[in-house]
């Protein structure tokens, strides 16, 4: 239990990281460092996107699976690590 905390804290304190969200399979944010409305928005939208991305990858090659998803908008980068049941979302400002 404590290790989970430690891991998440370590991620959060990395340079440039703005926020971390852990979302479960239904799209409910379990753990977050951002405010509620932003979290809900990110959770809902990215969850759907990850599902879509995963189904795309599997359509192209059924043996394949999605391991990581990186979205690079102009302002900062959104990284999503998907799993069968949970989703770890990190928003980072990449160093220029």
């Amino acid at each position: 239990m404590a290790e989970v905390e430690e891991t998440l804290k370590r991620i959060q304190t990395h340079k440039g990281v703005i926020g971390t969200i852990v979302v479960n399979a239904e799209g409910i944010p379990i753990r977050t460092t951002l405010d509620n409305s932003t979290t809900v928005q990110y959770a809902g939208l990215l969850h759907q996107l990850t599902m879509k991305a995963r189904s795309t990858v599997r359509d192209l090659d059924p043996q394949n699976d999605l391991t990581f998803l990186r979205i690079r908008p102009k302002k900062h980068e959104i990284m999503v690590a998907p799993d069968k049941e949970y989703l770890l979302i990190v928003i980072q400002n990449p160093s220029e």
């Binding site: 998440l8 991620i11 440039g16």
Partner: protein
């Protein structure tokens, strides 16, 4: 074993409606009082036709083959041909392919919003209750699976974060070196959007005006300029379109009579002024709705359709002036529309006589020269006027003649205000203010009437014209002077109006059936080339000098002729150049004409004789 089937049964012949659908089994033939047919049902449709309606019976018979025509080869015909040696025959051994084009049907899209509510919570948890959600979250966190997953995902994520921090993998190398290529691309233009008149009866799009800030909206004035062409069902509305949405206009303007011209106020983007077919001027405020805020009174308005309305540069930003074919140019302050603030009658004799006045079709006003303005008339003259003159006689400074028909467009070059462009009849001409006798440059006479034109706001040597056969021409006189640089057929019907957006990239043209087309032109035609200003200046100066020299020469010649005719008058000769009266000229021309005809007839008769003699 009973098997139950549920079907709808179409009974044959007697009843046309399905028997009530009911469950029936194969071995119980009657359920619910109906005698049901067996499983194998034939569906039969019977129709009857009387025998005598068929017509006579066809009796076919067989007969042997007959030879109708037999053309045998005739070797004598070969003498009419020469054998070709060698013969060039191209052969291509490729797959035969065919090309098809498909245009999908236009789809109408509508924008709607969705309201999101937080969801996904299991049934027993109320998302509004903080305690319940916290409890749920804590429960999930205690899960073993959660633990392992997070550890694994976490390490993955960390790797990527560190990667991001180490180097910027999306860095743009060589970003600062914007290579300015002399683009050798072909000038082109492509249609971006088409805005059609939503009414049943289509009206002509006579005037377009871009929104002053950002140019995301286009105001189009629709009217019918044909004489007495207005049917009672014709709608009077004009529209403001958002260029992203061609399906539905953003706003409707409802005038009292059809609007012939419409302009946005460059200072206040909510105000538009429009001139209508019955001579009145009205102004709208888009915040206040579709009805005009105020209209000018009929007694003081124009007596003919108002063809052009322009906003003036003033402190209050509320002054406009309008021109119409009744020969008047009126100035208005939109805050007080009951009366025009000033009036000018376009009388070339400078007497202010309305009967003698020239009808005005276009106006020109440049904000950098606020005291001068120009009017293009129906008679083909451009009248240059001074606003600040004391008497009406002095208002009209000079006229420029040279066109054969009404001047539909008149605009000064935004970079060289001394030169202006006029579009009329079958040509477009460029003038210099100093030369009043003729234009300094002109295009050739086209096959179709030119209906509108304007300069490009970014390039001093580029201007656009539209013609009655639906083509848009882009002229670049530094590149090619005889022909347009780009000629594009926009639509099949005539194009009546044209307006370029301030960035020079987009232009909109309006057609006879009310279709406004938005086009984007290639970047080569809307970026300022190197030396362009200098070259254009040099060209204008050169042409102006040429015209000046020609003018001087003409004057000299005329002076000589006049002095010569003065001398010859003393000798009493009838043929004095320039001193002949109209009747004398007419009789002389008639006599000459008959002489020519007779000579021609005699020549023909002689030829006939020769021919007869030969045979």
């Amino acid at each position: 074993m009973t098997t139950w089937l549920a079907t709808q049964v179409w009974a044959s012949m007697k009843c046309n409606s399905p028997v009530q659908s009911s469950l029936w089994s194969t071995d119980s033939p009657s359920v619910g009082g109906h005698t049901l047919p067996t499983l194998t049902m034939e569906i039969v449709h019977v129709y009857t036709k009387k025998r005598n309606e068929f017509g006579r019976q066809c009796n076919f018979s067989d007969r042997p083959a007959e030879l109708h025509v037999d053309i045998l080869p005739d070797p004598s015909l070969a003498s009419n041909f020469i054998e070709r040696d060698p013969c060039d025959i191209p052969i291509q051994c490729t797959q035969e392919m065919s090309e098809h084009e498909v245009n999908t049907e236009r789809f109408e899209s509508d924008t709607r919003g969705i309201n999101h509510v937080e969801g996904g919570w299991p049934k027993d948890v109320n998302p509004q209750e903080m305690e319940q959600t916290i409890r749920f979250r804590k429960k999930v966190e205690k899960d073993e699976h959660y633990f392992s997953t997070i550890m694994q995902l976490g390490s993955n994520m960390e790797h990527c974060i560190k990667q991001n921090n180490a180097i910027n993998i999306y860095q743009e190398y060589f970003e600062e070196e914007e290579v300015v290529e002399e683009s050798e691309e072909q000038p082109s233009a492509k249609t971006i959007n088409v805005f059609r008149d939503p009414n049943e009866i289509k009206r002509t799009a006579t005037c377009l005006s871009w929104h002053p800030d950002g140019s995301c909206k286009l105001a189009v004035a629709y009217s019918s300029l044909g004489f007495q062409n207005i049917s009672p069902d014709m709608s009077y509305d004009s529209y403001i379109w958002d260029i992203e949405n061609p399906n539905k206009p953003e706003m409707t303007l409802k005038p009292v009579s059809l609007l012939v011209c419409l302009e946005y106020n460059p200072k206040d983007s909510h105000i538009l002024v429009g001139g209508s077919y019955n001579g009145q001027i009205a102004y709208w405020d888009t915040r206040k709705g579709s009805q005009p805020v105020e209209m000018s009174t009929i007694e003081h308005s124009h007596r003919d359709p108002v063809y052009k309305v322009i906003w003036l540069q003033s402190k209050t930003g509320t002054d406009t002036f309008s021109a119409s074919t009744d020969g008047q140019v009126l100035w208005w302050d939109i805050r007080k529309m009951s009366e025009p603030t000033e009036r000018l009658v376009l009388d070339p004799n400078k007497k202010g006589n309305l009967d003698n006045a020239l009808g005005a079709i276009s106006l020109e006003f440049e904000t950098t020269m606020p005291t001068k303005f120009m009017v293009g008339t129906e008679q083909g003259l451009v009248v240059s006027c001074n606003r600040k003159a004391k008497t009406p006689a002095e208002k009209i400074v000079c006229t420029y003649s040279g066109h054969h028909g009404p001047i539909y467009a008149l605009q000064r070059n935004p970079f060289f205000p001394k030169n202006f462009l006029t579009v009329a009849d079958w040509t477009a001409r460029i003038w210099s203010e100093d030369i009043k006798e003729s234009s300094i440059m002109w295009t050739k006479y086209h096959m179709a009437y030119l209906s509108d034109g304007c300069w490009s706001p970014v390039r001093p040597s580029v201007f656009f014209t539209v013609k009655m056969d639906g083509t848009l021409d882009v002229w670049d006189f530094l590149f090619k002077q005889n022909d347009p640089t780009l000629s594009l057929k926009v639509c099949d019907e005539a194009l009546y109006s044209l307006r370029v957006q301030d960035n020079g990239r987009f232009l909109a043209c309006g057609s006879q059936l009310g279709t406004a087309t938005l086009l984007e032109i290639s970047p080569g035609l809307c970026t300022l080339q190197r030396n362009e200003k200098a070259l254009a200046t040099a060209m204008f100066e050169r042409e102006t000098k040429r015209e000046k020299i020609l003018e001087a020469r003409h004057r000299e010649m005329r002076l000589k002729e006049r002095s010569r005719s003065e001398q010859s008058k003393d000798e009493d000769t009838k043929e004095g150049d320039g001193e002949e009266s109209v009747e004398e000229l007419a009789t002389r021309t008639e006599a000459e004409f008959y002489e020519i005809v007779e000579a021609e007839l005699k020549k023909r008769a002689k030829e006939q004789e020769k021919k007869v003699r030969r045979d």
